[in-house]
């Protein structure tokens, strides 16, 4: 079937256009794909790699890790002991400080960072934590983040400077960063757990490591982007290399570096929360996780809200502080005027501490005053599920049977009389093939043969399913795509990555992950794209969406799961929704940004030629915004994969589940292989989409 489709599409392409050499590559690929499908009946190896060819990489890695732990355990335990001291100290300090003192200090800092509005926000949110009785848990979390961030910033600064100034280091640091940013958060925890043992230090170390990459990247990027005029003028002032770095390059790169600090804080918080999965120590992440596991949704929602509020405070305050511009008046004025905030904070904290000696309520918020409306939430959830179960379950099963299942096992296996009302026979298959071919022809007419090839691939995938497609076909098509889009380097990388998944025996799980993530990303990308287009054409929609996007992006991953499982319970569908909710933001943002940043002259020229708004959108703005939109798709996939692993908590199959199992069993080999699998999926997609976008930008004259 595919053969007829391909041939008809290609014929039309040949007839109408000059011969395009890359078309030949796809023609050969198409023939090979058809051959492989024909062979799958006769030879098993086409669909399933023989067991004896699977490399026992997991066992090897475990053996290596055992040896490593045995020889270096003392070192890591010593580091662990060393880190425990300041951390316990910080924790003790935060617990000793009366809550009004901490709140007063935070509010003053918030005022400095963002004026009265932020100060009021901080006051209200911190009071919420006090009133619902999560103060101590919040302070434990704060202590961890407070320790992890300075460590991350210091390591990141050092590595970033090294990356910038020492070429051989770059070739090690850059791939390491790629890997660190694509390996899922859970996978970090396993080696840290083995080396550092249980306890809060594991969370600290994991958070420090996890939060480093954005700092390194921003330091290196900031240093690279210091304008050449500034560097030359400093050289002409007679700077030595060291003066140039510390007095000129680093200060001039500070705005970019500060963006890195903000991202580091958010990453550290996210990881501290996730680290609760290996056992809590009375922090807020543990509170959410343990209540969620007991299906106490009211409780986990209240605790989850604390996490969201902490994240929003961290984000806004750190962004406010780091983007403050120094103004010339700073030098004038007395000591008091210059450091007013500092004095106010000091006085407020001291007054609060003094008062707390007299009034014990100010030291420990009395249990009797706690307002904890978990029961109300639980009742509401019960009422909702009791009354609307038919609706939620209908949505769930409809999506499952008509959308998810076909993508997973293909129309070939999922179309049964039970759900679809008819069985898949030859005629229906032929009808489907004809429909796909027709669509491909239409796309070929409307755009180019490349679009037609994409339609054919998608149609084939939907028919055979991600798990039904033979590995050889999948590897072939992805590798050819990578090669055509990004050149032989990307092609070889894709081939190598896919072969890794094949020969380490995680192929089927990887395909399950590809399927779930792919589906979620597809929906998120379409929905987000539409919202992005709407926001680009309507300022009010844009203003409405912006704070929502900001909030969605600051929320640590698994808080997303709470409201979803409240309504839809655990299962693949909930995972799908969680991935969509988390991954939709870049689709919205990049689409809006891409459309809004189409050169104004081009838009004006199109208007002047008499384009209707619809023509303007479809024929001018979208084509020109496409490279940017594709970067959004890329980000959507990255976030989707990150969330996919966390979504294993609510029961998904695939690599996420594998990592989760490995984590509970402290199985380093399994976790590392699965983590690498996810990272490779992410990196292969990233390379392909990035090169496509870069090439397209050059073609459109935008770069």
């Amino acid at each position: 079937m595919i053969a007829t489709n391909a041939v008809s599409a290609l014929e039309s392409a040949f007839h109408r256009r000059n011969y395009d050499p890359s078309l030949a590559v796809w023609l050969v690929t198409g023939v090979a794909v058809v051959a492989l499908f024909a062979l799958r009946g006769q030879y098993d190896w086409v669909t399933k790699l023989p067991e004896e060819l699977v490399i026992p990489l997991e066992a090897w890695l475990n053996a290596f890790m055992d040896l490593f732990v045995a020889s270096f355990k003392w070192l890591f335990r010593a580091i662990s002991g060393l880190l425990e001291w300041p951390m316990n100290g910080l924790q003790a300090l935060l617990h000793w400080l009366p809550w009004p003192a901490t709140i007063a200090g935070s509010v003053v800092v918030a005022h400095l960072a963002g004026g009265w509005r932020l100060a009021v926000f901080t006051l209200c949110t911190l009071m919420y934590m006090v009133i619902v009785g999560y103060w101590d848990e919040s302070m434990n979390t704060l202590a961890l983040v407070g320790m992890a961030v300075p460590l991350s910033v210091a390591v990141g600064l050092f590595a970033g400077i090294l990356d910038f100034s020492y070429r051989p280091a770059k070739s090690v640091i850059q791939p390491t960063l790629d890997l660190m940013q694509t390996v899922p958060a859970f996978a970090y925890l396993i080696p840290v757990l083995l080396l550092f043992g249980f306890g809060p230090v594991v969370g600290l170390v994991a958070a420090t490591l996890y939060a480093c990459p954005p700092m390194v990247r921003n330091v290196s990027l900031g240093l690279q982007r210091v304008p050449v005029d500034i560097v030359e003028s400093a050289k002409m002032s007679g700077c030595t290399d060291r003066q140039l770095l510390w007095w000129v390059r680093l200060p001039a790169a500070m705005p970019t570096i500060m963006i890195g600090v903000n991202q580091t804080i958010m990453c550290a918080l996210s990881m501290v929360i996730i680290a609760a999965i290996i056992g809590g120590f009375g922090d807020i992440g543990w509170e959410v996780l343990s209540t969620m596991r007991r299906a106490q949704f009211g409780q986990s929602l209240l605790a989850g809200l604390v996490i969201v509020l902490i994240a929003m405070n961290f984000d806004r305050i750190s962004r406010g502080l780091t983007s403050r511009q120094r103004v010339s008046q700073a030098r004038t004025g007395t000591l008091w005027q210059r450091h007013a905030h500092l004095w106010v904070a000091l006085v407020a904290i001291m007054v609060a501490v003094a008062l707390a000696q007299v009034l014990p309520e100010l030291h420990d918020y009395p249990k009797a005053w706690i307002f904890y409306p978990a029961a109300v939430v639980n009742d509401a959830v019960t009422w909702f599920t009791a009354n609307y179960f038919f609706a939620t379950s209908a949505i769930k099963s409809w999506t499952l049977f008509y959308f998810l299942l076909p993508i997973r096992i293909g129309l070939e296996n999922s179309v049964t009389p039970h759900f679809w009302g008819f069985a898949l026979n030859l005629w229906i298959s032929l009808g489907y093939a004809a429909a796909v071919a027709g669509l491909a022809l239409w796309v070929d007419r409307a755009t180019s043969w490349r679009g037609a090839v994409a339609v054919l691939i998608t149609g084939g995938l939907f028919y055979f399913g991600t798990t039904g497609t033979p590995w050889a076909v999948f590897i072939l098509v992805v590798t050819v795509t990578a090669f055509r889009v990004g050149g032989w380097r990307v092609g070889v990388f894709a081939l190598g990555g896919l072969c890794f998944m094949l020969f380490t025996g995680i192929w089927e799980r990887a395909m399950l992950s590809v399927y779930l993530c792919g589906t979620a990303v597809l929906i998120a990308f379409l929905a987000g794209g539409l919202l992005g287009i709407w926001a680009a054409r309507n300022d009010r929609v844009s203003a409405f969406l912006r704070p929502i996007n900001d909030t969605l992006q600051t929320i640590p991953l698994y808080v997303f799961l709470i409201p979803i499982i409240m309504v839809f319970l655990v299962g693949e569908f909930s995972a799908l929704l969680a991935v969509i909710a988390y991954a939709i933001v870049p689709a919205i943002r990049y689409t809006e940004h891409g459309i809004r940043h189409v050169p104004a002259e081009t838009v004006e020229a199109a208007r002047a030629m008499g384009c209707t708004p619809r023509q303007l959108l479809w024929q001018v703005q979208l084509p020109l915004a496409l490279p940017e939109i594709m970067l959004g798709l890329n980000q959507t996939i990255m976030l989707g994969l990150a969330m996919l692993v966390i979504a294993a908590l609510v029961g998904t199959l695939g690599l996420g589940q594998m990592i989760y199992i490995a984590l509970t069993a402290a199985d380093f080999g399994k976790g590392a292989v699965a983590g690498l699998g996810i990272a490779l999926i992410a990196m292969i997609t990233d390379r392909i989409l990035q090169s496509w976008s870069a090439r397209k930008k050059v073609e459109l004259g935008l770069a």
Binding site: D229, I230, E232, G238, P251, S328, T332
Partner: protein
């Protein structure tokens, strides 16, 4: 091709056969034959460099800069002028050739010597100002002194003097982003002067400014030069700016100097069609001076109502209007130096070229 008018000052800085080639192996073209290379094979060498997919940014550039002179290098973008000025200060390492400053071969200077030279003898101004965004105007101007390790009090004092000199008093506590472009470049100028350099390098200092501001800054620049008498290399892509400021001009094209001479020489005797192209829009009456159309005084010349040799043609026009016989020309001391005929003035204004005999 060398201008002869300004032979007065000592040669402060010169470069000889300067080459800058970009590419994977730029030195292959100069190995073995460095220094021994003859002048005539420049074109052949350029051809070889380009054939090997290397970029020749500066080709066989030679010139002298005299003490107290404003030497302008003029060229369009990509002509290699910025490369040349960066070779003079070794912000860019030349591939071949010689740069000698006060008798010292700069290309042989160690990095320590180079830092020392930059700290004490060179000042440079940049097209996009190159100010440090995190420092105030005062700290920016004092930065070269800080780098040298001058004590805070001393460097503040000296920086304030220079800030006054460039007319920025009152703005010393501002940050660069709070200033207009013209003011920012004043800071850049002040900073480059903070160490009292002997050679002052200006790389398109006014190109990023609006035309009106540019004009003001040119006047300001000339005022400063009358006070300071620096030795100056000035880069511009603006031919009129070059004429206005220069004692001598080098015009560059595709990495080569196509003509080197005084403004009047360039306008009146353009070396080729490329230079001629620039001279079309020149307000000749303002650029050309009486001394540029001077002829030896004829015997029995009436020496009454003489004109000064430094008058430009616009000013002398009323004097020659309606006359046929030549006017006497005197120098600054009132001595007779020659005569000017109405015919010569009109020829010069009409752009008829006087071929050098």
């Amino acid at each position: 091709m060398t201008g002869t008018d300004q032979a007065a000052g000592q040669v402060k800085l010169f470069c000889r056969n300067l080459w800058k080639v970009y590419g994977p192996e730029p030195h292959q073209f100069f190995s073995g034959e460095r220094g021994a290379r003859q002048r005539g094979d420049r074109a052949e060498l350029i051809r070889r460099i380009r054939a090997a997919d290397h970029i020749a940014a500066a080709c066989d550039v030679s010139f002298d800069v005299h003490e107290g002179e404003i030497f302008v290098i003029m060229g369009l973008s990509g002509s290699g002028k910025s490369t040349v000025i960066r070779c003079l200060s070794r912000l860019v390492e030349p591939t071949a050739g010689q740069v000698v400053f006060d008798g010292q071969d700069l290309l042989k200077a160690s990095s320590k010597e180079l830092i020392d030279l930059r700290r004490h003898k060179m000042g440079m101004v940049f097209q996009n100002f190159g100010l440090l965004p995190h420092l105030t105007v005062l700290d920016n101007v004092a930065f070269p002194l800080k780098v040298q390790g001058v004590a805070r009090e001393e460097r503040v004092k000296r920086a304030m003097e220079i800030i006054d000199l460039v007319g920025l008093e009152g703005r010393e506590a501002s940050f660069p982003r709070e200033l207009s472009g013209g003011q920012q470049q004043r800071v850049g100028i002040a900073r480059s002067l903070a160490v009292e350099p002997e050679i002052w390098l200006l790389d398109e200092p006014f190109s990023a400014l609006d035309p009106l501001i540019r004009r003001q800054m040119q006047d300001e620049f000339l005022r400063l030069q009358r006070l300071l008498h620096k030795t100056i290399v000035f880069i511009t892509h603006d031919f009129l700016e070059a004429l206005r400021l220069a004692d001598r001009i080098a015009i560059m094209k595709d990495g080569e100097i196509v003509q080197l001479g005084t403004p009047a020489q360039v306008v009146m005797e353009p070396a080729d069609d490329y230079v001629t192209e620039f001279t079309h829009d020149v307000p000749r009456a303002k650029v050309l001076m009486v001394r540029n159309v001077l002829e030896p005084a004829a015997d029995g010349l009436d020496t009454s109502d003489a004109v000064a040799e430094t008058m430009n043609l616009e000013e002398v026009l009323p004097h020659v209007a309606g006359r046929i016989d030549p006017l006497p020309v005197t120098d600054a001391n009132g001595r007779l130096v020659g005569q000017v005929t109405p015919h010569a003035v009109l020829n010069a204004l009409a752009g008829k070229q006087r071929r050098k005999g």
